[in-house]
Symmetry: D2
Subunit: 510 residues, 4 copies
C-alpha cells in the first residue's frame, strides 16, 4: 500500500492523554522529511490548556537550521521524489485518503483542538475539524481538473503556431498559520497547495500547534511521501522568519495580523521575491436595517461576534443598526448574550470557552478599558470572568463613534461594538462601513431586495453575507481587500495561489 | 461625442519636430487629471536621441507632490467619476476608440519611439506600436466578458443559499515601466488595467517617456475621462518610489530589473500592502539540437539576441548548442551577424540601431570586458562602434562556461553568449539551462517531437518557444518564474492582476 | 483594403425608396458566394408593409438548387478560402468593421425593418438594430479569446503525455430565423457563428427578409470573403427544408415555433445528423406579488406583453397576480394600456404598430375569440383595429383559468392574459407557473428578497427576470428549457453552439 | 448510514456462479425505483457466454410499461425526492462511495463482464472496470465545482442590474449504451449525468446487461436514493424506443451505431424535443510515417485494431502507411499478430477473446468476404476460428483502395485494413483520411514535430492520438465529428451535456 509499503513506520514518542472520555495521542516533535525529530535549538514551547492554564505538554521549537533542513527536504521531494512525478489523479487519491483518515480521527482531533485552543468541543468537531476535512476533499477533487489553455494566437503564415499554457506547481511553499482555527487554517492553505502539486513547510501557530502535529502523523498513514509535508512548530521570530527568508521557498502563504503581514511581505521581497498571499486582519461591518427578520438578525448578531470566542478573522467588528430598531436590538442582544453558557469547552452544553492564551486575554481586557475611556457605553461584560481559566466575558458596547479606537481596531475577542445609523440612510451607512483600511468581510440584514443588492454590491470587502453571517464554504473564495491582504483561500481561485503558468509556443510547417 | 463633448480642449505647449519625413508633435509635461501641467519640482529630464546623443526636448519630472495629486485624481475618477459608473461595454467602446486613434497615429508614434529609444523604425512600427495597438484591442474586447461565478455551496437546509463572486477593479493602480519598449510596456500593463475598470498612475521610463506623453494626448481624444490615466515622467528614486509608497495605490505593476523589483515589492509591503506583479530580469536559455532546421535556427539565434538591440527582456541570454553542430553554428551566426546593417534607425534598411542610453552602453562594454577577462572566446564585436551615436557592435562570445559572469548575468544588449553541450545529453542541458535564479523565457530548436515536448515541459521558465523565438502574442500570458517575478501580462490571465474577487452569500427561505 | 481589394464591386439592382425622410436602398435578390443573383425557381415573395398592406417590393425566393449552390459556396469558403486560413484576430477586425458599417447605416436599417415588419421605428432603432450591432461587437471581441484546454491526464509512465483540446468551427452552418426581430435574430445567431469561424447559409423570415439582404450588402463592404455569408430568402417548406436537409450543413440554428422545431430537428436527424440548437415558443409566466413596486410592476406588465406588438418570443404569456392587488393591478394596466398610441410605426410618438403580417393578425383575432368562448373576461381590445393596416387592439383578458387554451398556448401578439393567485401562496403559484411544456422565460416582481430568490431559483425557464422584464443583454445566455428548445444564443455559451472540440493526445519520451 | 438507514434491504433472487476461481452473483431483474422486479412483458433475454455459446442466465426484458414506470420514478426522485434537494457535496460523497464499492467488487465485475461480453479478463479488470471506477471518481469530484457565471451586463442606469447564470440538472435522462464496454459505457455517461444532479433511466446493451445489473445492486449499497438510477435491460426496439419517446425524459445520451443514431435523434425530435448527444460509429484513420519509431508503431498498430477484439468504437479502421515502410510494416504486423494468444478470456495469458455475440461474428465473416471480393489482399485471418466459441481470427487486409467497402465501413471487429500512401505526401494522406462521413478518432505516428502538429491539426476527428493510440482518459473529452455524432463524454465538457443554464437578471435601486 501507499502508506509506506514494506517500510517500517518510525517509532517516536507520543503525548498520550485520557481526556473528553477518550484516549488521545499526538507527537510533540518537529516533522521533517517524513520523520519526527527534535529541534536543533534544544528549545521547547509549552502548550497551555486555556481553560485552567495547565501545561498540556512541551513541543519542540524549530530553529533556523531546522527550517533549512525542512526546506531542503521539501525541495528534494518536489524535484526528485515520487510526488513530483506522480499523476495528478494519484495525488488526488492520496489526498482523499488523508481526508478519510482525518474523518476517522475527528473526535480525537477535535479534542486536541479544544484543549489546545479553548474551542468549544462541539464547534471544534463541526467547524475546526469538520470544515478541515471538507477542505481536503474539495481540493483533492481538483487535482486532475487543473487545466491550462490552448490559445488562438496569430499564426506566422505560411507557418502555423500552436500556443498553450500548462499550470505547474510552484515548488516549495511556506505556510504560516494562526492560532484561532489551528487545523482549519492549515487545511485551507495546505489542501490547495498540495492539490496543486507543491511541497510544503508549515509553521503552525506557536501557541496551538498540536493538531498540526497530529495531522503530520496522519499524513504518514495516508502515504504522503517524505518531504512533501513538513511541520515546524516554533516562534514567528525564529521559525516563521526563517521560512519567509528561505531561498528555496518560492511562495509564502500567511494568515495572521496586518502588522505581521507587512513583515512577511517585506521578507518575501528582500529574500528571493517570493510570491505571497496574505489573509490579514479585519474590522468587518455588519449592517442591520429596520426591515430585517429580527429573530434571525439577533441570532446572527451574536454569532457574528461571539462565534469561537470572537477569535474569528471575519468576526463582525462593527455592527451598524438602523436607529428605528436600535433600542430593541440592544435589548435583545443583551438578553440573548446573557443566556450563553460559559465554561469547560469539553462540556457539550457550553457555548463560550476560554480565550486562546493569556496575552490575548490581557489585550482584550485592555481593549475594553479603552472603549470605556473613550466614552462607549458598556452594556455587558467588559472584563475577565471571575473564574479559573482564560475566560473573557461576552461584551457589548453601544453608542460607539466611528473615530473611537474600538470602532477602528480589531479586538479578535467576544466584544460587540454597536453603532447607530440614520433611518433610511443606505448610502451613508455604506460609506461609514467602508471607511477603514480593512476589507475582509461584511454583512447586511434586510428583507428588501433593493437594499440587499445595493449594499452587497458596494461594501468594499472580500466577503459579504446577506441575511446570514459566518457562512463560509470550501467552494467559495475567501480573502480580503485593502490591508486585509490579497490572495484567496478556498474555492477554485485558491488553486491559482499555488500554481504558475507556463506558455509554450510552437511553430511548424510541412 | 465622448471625446470631450462640448468641453473645450486644453491648450498646452507641444514639442513639434519634422523628422522621418513627417511632422510630429507631442507634449512634454506631466499629465494629471486630464490636463498637461508642469511639475511642482521645477525639475526636467532631458530626452536624448541615442543615434547622435542630441537632446530631443526636456520633459517635466514629477515630484512626490505631483504623484500625490495624480493618485488623488485617479482615486476620485475611480470612486466618484463617470468611469467607475460606466457600463463595461461602454468602457470597451472607449478603449477601442483609443486603439483606433493609436493606429491613426502609428507612424508618428513609431517615429517618436525611434528617436527616443533608438528602436529601428520598421521594428517600432510593427512591434513597439503595432503590438501596442493589438494589445489595446485585445483587452478592449474583454471588458464586457469579465465574469464571476455562481458557486454550489452547501445549503443551510431548510434554508437555501446563493453564493456568487463578482470581479471588481482594484482601484488606483500604479504602473512603472521600462525603456526598452516604452509604449508597448505601457500598453501591456495599462490595457488590462483599464479593461478591468481601474484608474492608473504611470511612470514611464525616465529615459524614454515621449510616446507615453503622446499616448496621454490620444487618450483625451478618445474621451477617457480625466483622472483615469495619469502619466508622470520622472526618476525612479522620486516618482517611482512615491507611486510605490502611496496609500491610495492598491496595486503596483512593475517591469524592470530584478534588483529594482526587490525595492518595489518592499515598498508595497511597507506602505499599504499593495498587491504587486513583477516582470523582471531574465537570462533565458535557448537550446539548439543537432537535428534542428539549421536555416531557421540561425535566423532565430540572431533574432533571439539582437532583436531590438538586445534590449529585450526575453532575449536569449544563453545559447546551448549541441556539440556536433557547434562549429557550424558559430560560423553561420558570425556570418549572418556580420550582414546586419548598423546605422540610423530611421533608415528602412538598417537592422541595428543605437542602444537606448549612454549608461547602458557603458555597461555593455564593461560586460564584454568581463567576458574576455574570464576567458570566454570573443568571435565578433565586443566594443562600442566607431561612429557617432550610442552604437554597440553585435557581439558573439563562445566557449562560455556556466559559472562565468556572462553566463549568469543579463546584459540586455546585443551580446550572444554561446555554450556547447554534449551530444544527446537532453537531460543534462535542461538541468544546466534551469540552473539560474531567473525564469523568464526559454527556447528549443529540434525537429524531434520527443525532445521538443520533453524540453518544453521541463524548462523552468514562464515562456518556452519551440522552433521559433520572440513569438509573443497579446492573447498568450507572459511573465516569469523564480526571481524573474510573478504575475502575468497579456492573455486572459493578465486581467486577474487587476481584479479583485468579492464573494457574496445570500441565505433565504419562504 | 479588405473590402474587396482591387476587385470591382458587383453592380446589381437595388430597391430604392424615399421613406421616413430618408433615401433607403437594399437588394432584393439572393446573396450567394458574394454575389446577388436571381433565384433559379423564378419565384418571388411579395414583401408587404403591414401598416397599409402595400407591397414594398418583390424578393427572390430560393429554390432547393439555390440552397445547394449556397451550401457549396459556403463549403468552399470554409475549406479552401481565405476565411478558413485567417487568423482569429483578423476575423475579429472584420466583424468589428461590419458592426461599424451597421452603425453607420442604422437609421436606414431601422427604417427598412420598420416598414417590413411593422416595428415602431424608435424601437427598431434601439432594439432591432441597436442590439444587433452590440451583438456583432460582443462576438467580434470573442474571436481571439476562444480557448481550448490542456488537461492533466494520467501519464503512461515512464513515458509522458500531453493532452489538449482545440476548439474548431464546425463548418457550414444553416440558420433559419423568424420575422419578429428579423435583423436581430440573424445577428444573435450569425455573430456567434462567424466569430467561431464558420461559414453560413441563412434563410431569413419569408415575410420580413429585407434587412437581411441589406446586411448582406454591408457584409461585402466589410470585406467578408465570398461564400462566408449566404442569404437566401424563401419559404420554409422549400428553402428552409433544403437547408435542414443539406449534407454539407453540419449545424442548424433555428428560432421559430415549437411546431416547426420538431420538423427541423427531425430533418437534422434524417439527413446527416446535424447538430442543432432550437429557440422555440414560450408561454412565459410573470408573477406579481402584492409587495412589489406597483409603479414599476405596471410599467413592466405592459412591456412584458405589448413590447414589439407582442411579437416577442419572451413575451409574458401568463401574468399571475396576487389576489390582494388583483383589482388594482387590472385597473392600472387597463388605464395605462389605453394610453398607448397606435399608428404609423414611423411616427416617433407611436408606441404600437401593426402586426407583422395578415395571417398572424387573423390568428390573433381567432385567439381572442377562443378566449372569450372559454369564459375568460375581456377587459380591453380583443379585435382588429378599425383602421387601415394590420393593427390589433392591445388586449387584456383576466380571470383566466390554467386549463384554458389562452392560458396554455402562445399568442405572439398584444394579448395580456391575467390570472389571480392566492395571497401568500408562493409555492403554489410557482407550481402553476411551471405547469407547461414551455420554458423560455419568466419573471417575478417583489421587494422581498426571500420571495425573489426562491421564485427565481424555482421557475423552470431559461431566463428569469426579477423586478424587470425584457432585459436581455448580448453577454447573457438566452435559450429555453423543455419544449422551448435547447442551445443558447448570446453570451459566452452561444459560442459553444458553433464550435467542436478536438482532443489531441501526445505521448513522448527521451 | 445513507445506504437506506434503518430501512430493510430488498431481498431478490440473484444469479450465483462460481467462475474464474471466485463466487460471483448478480441480479437478473429490472431495477426500477430502487427495487429489482420482473418485467411486465413477461419476456426475458438470454445472456450468452461467447466463449462457448452457453447460456449464463435469463434477464428480464423491459416493456414500454416498465419504461414508463421507471421514468415516473426518476421524475419523482428528481422533483420530490431527497436527491433533488441534496447538497452537491453530499451527492459527491455518495458517488465516491459508489466508486469505492465498485473497486471493492472489481474482480467480480470484471469476471461478469468477461463472461458476458467475451472481454479478456485482464483487460476487463484494467479497462472495462478500472476506467469505470476512475470515471465515477473523476465526476464525483465535479459535483461541488459546477459553477455558473455572474455577467457584466449593461445597467439600466440609474438602476443597477445583476445578471447571473446557474447550472441546473436537466431532469430525467435516458441513456442507451452499447455492448462493447458494457459497464464503462454506462459509467462514461451516467457518472457525468448523476454528478450534474439528474436522475436516469438506462437501457444497457441487450446482449451484455449483466454488469449494469450488478452496478444497480452496488448503487443501493452506496445509498443512492430510489428512482435516481433505473436499469432496464431490454431490446432497442421496445425498451430503447420507449425511452427515446418518453415525455418525461428531457435528455437522451446514446452510444451506438450511426444507423441507430438517426432513429434515436428522430425520436427525440418527434416526441418532446429532447436534447440529445450521440456517440456513433467511426472508421478512424491512423497514419504511419516512415520516420516513426517502428517498434512503438507496430505495437500500437496492433492495439489500434485488435484491442478488445476490435469491438472498440475508436478502433483504427484505416491504416495509412507510407510506401517506404509499407512492406516492412506489413511483415511486422503479421508476425506480431500471429503471436497473439487466442482462447478463454479468463485465461490470464490470452490476448484475444471471442466476439461479443453470434450475429456480430457473422457480420465480421461477411465483411471479410466482401473485402476479398472487392480485391483487397488478405494477409492473415479472415474467418471464424476453428474452435468452440465465437472466435474471429485476427485479420489483416492490405492494398485496400479508398473506395472499397472495407475502407469505408466500420467492421467493429479484429480486422486491420492497411493502405499505402505516397512518400512525403502529407497533405494527400490527410485529405484521404478525412474523406469519410465519420469523424470519431484518428492517429499519427512520426518523430517529426512538423508532421505531428500539422497532421493532428488537420485530421477532422474528435480525437487525435500522436505516437500512441487508444489513450483515452477520464479527464479528456471524447466524442465525434460529422456523422460520428455530437456531444462529449468524459472531461469537463461532458457535464455540459447534462446541465441546463438559467440566466437570472435582477434590477434594483435604492
Amino acid at each position: 500500500s501507499r502508506g509506506g509499503g514494506g517500510k517500517k513506520m518510525q517509532e517516536y514518542p507520543k503525548v498520550k492523554l485520557h481526556v473528553n472520555k477518550m484516549d488521545i495521542s499526538f507527537p510533540s516533535q518537529l516533522f521533517i522529511d517524513g520523520l519526527f525529530c527534535d529541534a536543533t535549538s534544544g528549545k521547547k514551547l509549552k502548550s497551555i490548556d486555556p481553560k485552567d492554564e495547565s501545561v498540556i505538554c512541551e513541543v519542540e521549537a524549530a530553529s533556523k537550521e531546522d527550517v533549512d533542513r525542512a526546506c531542503k527536504a521539501a525541495y528534494r521531494a518536489f524535484n526528485d521524489g515520487e510526488w513530483g512525478k506522480m499523476n495528478a489523479r494519484d495525488r488526488s487519491t492520496m489526498l482523499f485518503k488523508l481526508a478519510d483518515l482525518m474523518e476517522e480521527h475527528q473526535e480525537e482531533l477535535a479534542t486536541i483542538e479544544s484543549i489546545d485552543s479553548g474551542a468549544v468541543y462541539t464547534l471544534a468537531l463541526k467547524t475546526h475539524i469538520g470544515m478541515s476535512i471538507a477542505t481536503w476533499r474539495y481540493f483533492a477533487g481538483w487535482c486532475d481538473k487543473i487545466e491550462g489553455s490552448t490559445i488562438p494566437i496569430n499564426n506566422a503564415r505560411p507557418n502555423r503556431n500552436l500556443a498553450l499554457t500548462r499550470k505547474y506547481p510552484i515548488g516549495v511553499c511556506g505556510l504560516i498559520t494562526p492560532w484561532n482555527y489551528p487545523l482549519m487554517m492549515l487545511s485551507w492553505k495546505m489542501a490547495a497547495c498540495l492539490a496543486a502539486g507543491n511541497t510544503v513547510v508549515i509553521k503552525p501557530a506557536q501557541v496551538s500547534p498540536l493538531t498540526a502535529l497530529k495531522f503530520a502523523e496522519l499524513s504518514v498513514l495516508a502515504g504522503i511521501p517524505p518531504g512533501v509535508i513538513n511541520v515546524l512548530p516554533g516562534t514567528g521570530r525564529v521559525c516563521g522568519q526563517a521560512i519567509a527568508d528561505h531561498p528555496l521557498v518560492r511562495k509564502l502563504g500567511f494568515t495572521g495580523s496586518t502588522e505581521i503581514g507587512h513583515t512577511i511581505m517585506r521578507s518575501c521581497a528582500d529574500s528571493n521575491l517570493k510570491k505571497c498571499s496574505l489573509e490579514l486582519g479585519g474590522k468587518s461591518p455588519l449592517i442591520f436595517f429596520a426591515d430585517c427578520d429580527m429573530e434571525k438578525a439577533i441570532k446572527n448578531a451574536l454569532g457574528s461576534v461571539f462565534f469561537n470566542k470572537g477569535e474569528n478573522c471575519i468576526a463582525a467588528g462593527r455592527l451598524f443598526v438602523e436607529e428605528t430598531i436600535y433600542d430593541e436590538f440592544l435589548d435583545r442582544v443583551v438578553t440573548e448574550t446573557k443566556k450563553m453558557k460559559i465554561g469547560d469547552p469539553l462540556d457539550r452544553s457550553v457555548q463560550h470557552g476560554p480565550q486562546n492564551h493569556k496575552a490575548h486575554l490581557d489585550k482584550l481586557v485592555e481593549y475594553c478599558e479603552t472603549g470605556l475611556k473613550e466614552g462607549a457605553r458598556l452594556l455587558l461584560g467588559g472584563k475577565r470572568c471571575d473564574m479559573k481559566g482564560l475566560y473573557m466575558e461576552p461584551t457589548i458596547f453601544c453608542d460607539v463613534e466611528d473615530n473611537m479606537f474600538i470602532a477602528k481596531e480589531e479586538s479578535f475577542g467576544p466584544i460587540m461594538v454597536v453603532t447607530k445609523f440614520n433611518a433610511g440612510d443606505v448610502e451613508g451607512v455604506v460609506k461609514r462601513a467602508n471607511n477603514t483600511e480593512y476589507g475582509l468581510a461584511s454583512g447586511v440584514f434586510t428583507k428588501d431586495i433593493n437594499k440587499a443588492l445595493y449594499v452587497s454590491e458596494h461594501l468594499d470587502a472580500g466577503t459579504c453575507f446577506v441575511n446570514i453571517y459566518n457562512k463560509t464554504d470550501v467552494a467559495a473564495p475567501f480573502g480580503g481587500f485593502k490591508e486585509s491582504g490579497f490572495g484567496k483561500d478556498l474555492g477554485r481561485e485558491a488553486l491559482n495561489e499555488y500554481l504558475k503558468t507556463k506558455t509554450i509556443t510552437f511553430e511548424y510547417s510541412i
